[in-house]
Symmetry: C2
Amino acid sequence: MTAQAIGPLFTDLYELTMGASYHQHGLVSDATFSLFVRNYPPHRNYFVAAGLEAILNELEGFRFSGSDIDYLKRTALFSDRFLAYLKDLRFSGEVFAMPEGTIFFPGEPVLEITAPIIEAQILEPFLLNTIGLSSMIATKSARCIHAAGNRPLIDFSLRRTQGTDAGLKVARSSYLAGFMATSNVLAGKTYGIPVSGTMAHSYVTAFNSESEAFSAYSRTFPDNSIFLIDTYDTLEGARQAAAVAREMKKTGHSLVGVRLDSGNMAELSRNVRKILDEAGLSEVKIFASGGFDEYKISAIIADGACIDAFGVGTKVGVSADAPYLNIVYKMVKFGGRNVRKLSSGKATLAGEKQVFRETDTDGRYLKDTVGLRSETMPKAAALLEPVMTAGRCLRPHPTLSAIRDRFKANFACLNDRFKSLDTPPAYPVALSPKLETLQTES
Amino acid sequence: MTAQAIGPLFTDLYELTMGASYHQHGLVSDATFSLFVRNYPPHRNYFVAAGLEAILNELEGFRFSGSDIDYLKRTALFSDRFLAYLKDLRFSGEVFAMPEGTIFFPGEPVLEITAPIIEAQILEPFLLNTIGLSSMIATKSARCIHAAGNRPLIDFSLRRTQGTDAGLKVARSSYLAGFMATSNVLAGKTYGIPVSGTMAHSYVTAFNSESEAFSAYSRTFPDNSIFLIDTYDTLEGARQAAAVAREMKKTGHSLVGVRLDSGNMAELSRNVRKILDEAGLSEVKIFASGGFDEYKISAIIADGACIDAFGVGTKVGVSADAPYLNIVYKMVKFGGRNVRKLSSGKATLAGEKQVFRETDTDGRYLKDTVGLRSETMPKAAALLEPVMTAGRCLRPHPTLSAIRDRFKANFACLNDRFKSLDTPPAYPVALSPKLETLQTES
């Protein structure tokens, strides 16, 4: 199951007014657009490609509905002739892209589309929106995975993501980058991601006492309980949880864990661990949630916290320290002519491109080169692959699980020095001589 | 037309596991939950309520589909008895809420729901997500409106919003707060917002020269053209635009404007204004886009820019300097008993509430008091209204245009000293003595 199509009106008006003008003047040649991130937001030093599957599904179903055309007619901006053209429009182009889970760097195209210019142009906002959000969250999530070491992470961000679509895409992108599960039930259904979660503070306050709440919950989920212990006093909560856990043991069940959600969690976790261990409950795990991101995870581990797994929410779900990517979609070829723009601070390179990645004998990344698509570099891997021709996918989508495995393998090939959270060295990306020469010619 | 229903699986798993436990133990009494923002994010000093219409539509259509139930069954977490209960579940509760466009402050409930506890609990993530995003963007947009004075603002954020749903909600929330239009065509269709936009750099580069591009565009849209003049060199672009505008005049048409999108826009705008004026084109307006938010708008106006209208994109579309609200939904009453939690730094106040606003004789806001819903304060307006009973809306939704007017009137009643972008005084919000007394009793 996949998320629903959004349709071609998910675009900026100027894409349609430009289209109308191209149509009137007979400018209907193929154009190639290149989608890439211009530069790093603060504290970033690599990106994780995500969002391609949603793009390809949308392209295969691309069509204006009758009510879309009626709406456009009501704007009084478009000729009947252009509206008739839109009504019959299907996406007929080709797509080259990096597979989801690929690590990429600024200036490297993640995706290139070649199609009749009007089709390619209308798609711009959807492509940027989809690849931008998914890659931004996959990147933020990868940073958390690196910071957490082997401790599992669970996506808790649903309530604070920016809208319902983001709720789904954040769950998918964080799982792709290595999260263990999500609290988001719809994401579980839509993408097959494992779902996780037990109780909130309101559950505890709905009973006359904390102990009664824990006990009631354990009767409903005797083998799946995690008690939230900070509603009133965390250490007293830990003692109540331990007492109920010992009762559970008598009937052959086991408490999975307790969860901390407030206070000085490094210190509390150590004291809670002590309470659990002294009660003979060393198997009961300690979960923590509340404002975690890569920085807080890294700091609390350094502080000696006894935390086995983290619920990660808001700050990852909106990529709070870098809530957008400077992601762009630029025409690089039109009607056989390579084109570029020179705007101050926003220049773009002409020509259809490929990204070549050189690795050492262990597969570790050494250096990337952005070159022309027509180039070959025998010792390097070409990262962009043809994925769609004449508007149809060339193969079934990889499973989310396969994408997750791909990312994990890729991430292991990126030297840890590039994964530092704060002041990493820049991964080397060069331009090929042929690409450089083309710029002086176009 | 409204956005599509997302359905009850747009929730966190723990809402359903808690529900299963309540169901097993027969805890089915009514609960009241209160939705509010705990505190200000950086640089904020008021909030604008938005998102209620989407909430009410979702509540009226609330039901688990057959495939939702099948999915939940496959998780192996829930009894058949509980799944049968969910299958028949409809939202049967009541909703009190501030109308959209109301200005509110931290600690003030924007919405309170009273319903059987399982229903009220399942809705939590959807309510927080929807009110949170919409109110955050309406607030950010209001700050831009204040900074821009009488200059019109247009939402250009679609490509960088966090997902497709955010694209729609940002267009609606910014229009609600006073933006003039959006570039987002789907938002135009869905909400009836005016749409705006003309050309991108790719249009200019698709022609052999800038002049040819402008001229071609003016033939398609003789009365609706705004030329983007920074593709190669902004001042040369202005001269080319002026030449084409003079040609347009000969046939009785008029260039609407030119757009700047890069470079030192304060200085460029003054020089472009001079070029246009010297060409006898004082009626041609100057639009600017590129990284604008309330801070950049305020700074460029202070710098004497000759800019007539702003395209506002990314930084407003993700509320970049404060990309989430600390918005929460807390149980304050259950089965006739007022409840609260005491967690460190996250305490909540028991009891169903009302917000009372006192104004001066000119209607200007003086002070708010959060009290009990059962209280009356004769000289103050009660901001929360009943909007839904037994799961049905009490009246038709106000139009977006009426909501926009409401906000404009409200905003005029908030003293300008609370609208400063950086270090404003805090608007006074007190607790009523009765609400305070209740806390010591619960």
